[in-house]
């Protein structure tokens, strides 16, 4: 049995894979064939490097091997065509690979960024974009991605291959989007990374290990995005938001996978390093001006993370931040959080008053979160009876199992408190 790759080389391969894929796609303009060739190159590396050592320029080595595989493929294809004497390619395959296999001016680092922009194409549905990004830029196997999404591997394989076809069909050239396209595309890229992070940040549903792999991968890719675009304050904000949210992971669920709300979490379990990094990032980003939604959300997360105890939370500061966020986006969830912050600063009655406006919002009709918040504020206002009703209603409306269990427990707790103690 050949010796296996050490951890360092494994990380190296994972980091290099998107750059290599980017370089090969740029040259051969075929997503699927390039991906196959890169896979073969990675396999070759995994078997040869342990024996012969890691080459001095591992990226160039991989590009060369992948290009050679593709060349063979193109040659075979050309030979077949020739035999069949149907058409002769106007561009001989040899010419297509006449470029130096390792370098042609553009740096590899840009290639992985371009690949990210391609995979997060606005024409793809978010879930397809996430799957393709994980596959091409993250280097996860189809089986791993399927596991993370709790769908069969065949389903995921089809989704990814459809996404590739859509990109091929859309004729998007493999190049950095122009300054003009950048804003729109960057928005889509950040949205996909944000959704990928959220997908992984869910609690106890499914094999948890794989879910946290997703948020870990989202963090890694956002880090990459930020290092490519250090001056983009929103990219910095998104990275800060992920770090500040992920820092609470260990405290978010109990031993049985049950949800533990922010106010009841054991804050000693929070990751101080991630919090420090996130706060430093968002502080710098905010000082640059042009404040966006990700930065504001990161700032909100930072306020929560900075409080040593739940009762130390700077609610007036949060209220101000939510007010700003409401001006940026017409999102009823933001309005809901704004009502919570209002209740924390000015009392539950003031919060309940704001919820009335949300009752009229069509997007919130029948939404469990509105009932849950109302239940909580009613409880704080001392109206247990009404609080129980709304906890139960929220439980009936959520599609999240851990959340339903949490809400039902809240209702049961209030009901128990009203009954005389058992003799």
């Amino acid at each position: 049995m050949p010796p296996s790759l050490d951890t360092h080389a494994e990380h190296l391969l994972r980091d290099l894979a998107p750059q290599v894929l980017g370089a090969v796609i740029r040259r051969f303009h075929d997503f699927s064939a390039s991906e196959d060739a890169v896979q073969e190159a990675l396999i070759a590396a995994a078997t040869q490097w342990p024996r012969e050592g890691v080459p001095s320029d591992p990226g160039a080595w991989l590009i060369q091997v992948a290009a050679r595989r593709l060349t063979d493929h193109v040659r075979a294809e050309a030979a077949r065509r020739h035999r069949e004497a149907i058409v002769v390619s106007l561009v001989p395959p040899e010419q297509q690979i006449a470029l130096a296999a390792d370098h042609d001016g553009a740096s590899g680092r840009d290639d992985s960024l371009i690949l990210l922009f391609m995979c997060c194409h606005p024409a793809l549905s978010p879930s397809s974009a996430i799957a393709l990004t994980l596959r091409a830029v993250g280097g996860l196997t189809t089986a791993e991605i399927a596991k993370a999404f709790l769908v069969p591997e065949a389903t995921m394989a089809q989704r990814i291959s459809r996404a590739k076809q859509s990109i091929q069909a859309s004729g998007v050239p493999f190049q950095m989007p122009t300054e003009e396209e950048r804003a729109q595309r960057l928005g889509a890229v950040m949205h996909v990374l944000y959704l990928m992070f959220n997908e992984g940040y869910t609690a106890s549903s499914g094999p948890e290990l794989h879910r946290s792999d997703l948020s870990g991968e989202a963090l890694r890719l956002t880090r990459m995005l930020h290092s490519h675009l250090p001056d983009d304050a929103e990219a910095a904000g998104l990275l800060a938001l992920m770090l500040l949210t992920d820092a609470r992971r260990a405290a978010r669920t109990g031993p049985a996978g049950e949800l533990i709300p922010l106010t009841e979490q054991d804050r000693s379990l929070w990751d101080p390093r991630a919090i420090a990094e996130g706060i430093a990032l968002i502080t710098t980003a905010l000082s640059k001006g042009a404040v966006g939604a990700y930065q504001l959300q990161a700032a909100i997360a930072a306020v929560h993370d900075e409080a040593a105890r739940a009762e130390d939370t700077d609610w007036p500061q949060l209220l101000a931040l939510y007010s700003l966020l409401m001006r940026l986006s017409d999102n009823p969830m933001v309005a809901l959080n704004h009502a919570i912050a209002t209740a924390m600063v000015h009392g539950p009655a003031a919060g309940l008053e704001l919820l009335k406006a949300l009752d009229a919002d069509a997007r919130m009709v029948g939404h469990h979160r509105l009932d849950a918040v109302r239940a909580h504020l009613l409880e704080r206002a001392g109206d247990s009876e009404a609080a129980i009703t709304h906890y139960k209603r929220a439980a009936g409306r959520t599609t999240s199992l851990p959340e339903r269990n949490y809400l039902l427990t809240q209702a049961a707790r209030l009901s128990d408190a009203r009954k005389p103690p058992p003799r």
Binding site: P126, S127, P152, T155, Q158, A293, T399, S400, R404
Partner: protein, 131 residues
């Protein structure tokens, strides 16, 4: 988002496939196979199964000793689950669209059955409804 599409049908109702002429039965089976294949190819299919009829169903509960007590068969049951699909789609609207397509499966004489299909979201992790 995952949804389960449940094809419920009244006992003794229109879904008595065993009594259909062979041609109609074949057309129905071909439709269902093609439908599952299409969902698979679009990357939306999680699972799909047809179920044996209610005349083979047993109702089971645990007795005092924890052992199963069976009851049935209930061939006269009012409604039964004939089969289901679990799909992973972008929106509830897409799940409804798929359900409508399944509902239009051909029945006797090739006419669409237009059977009622119950669509329910599958519970999963906390919903992703942050702004």
């Amino acid at each position: 988002m995952k949804y389960i599409l449940m094809m419920n049908t009244p006992g003794g109702g229109p879904y008595q496939v065993a009594q259909w002429p062979q041609q109609d039965l074949k057309a129905h089976i071909a439709f269902m196979m093609g439908f599952a294949k299409k969902l698979g190819e679009s990357g939306e299919l999680v699972a799909a199964e047809g179920l044996a009829g209610p005349d083979q169903a047993q109702r089971v509960r645990a007795g005092q000793d924890g052992k199963p007590i069976t009851d049935g068969v209930f061939p006269e049951s009012k409604e039964f689950l004939a089969g289901y699909w679990i799909v992973d789609v972008e929106s509830p609207e897409r799940a409804y669209e798929i359900a409508a397509q399944a509902s239009a499966a051909p029945g006797p004489g090739g006419a669409p059955l237009n059977m009622a299909i119950e669509v329910r979201q599958v519970m999963s992790g906390p919903p992703k409804d942050l702004p």
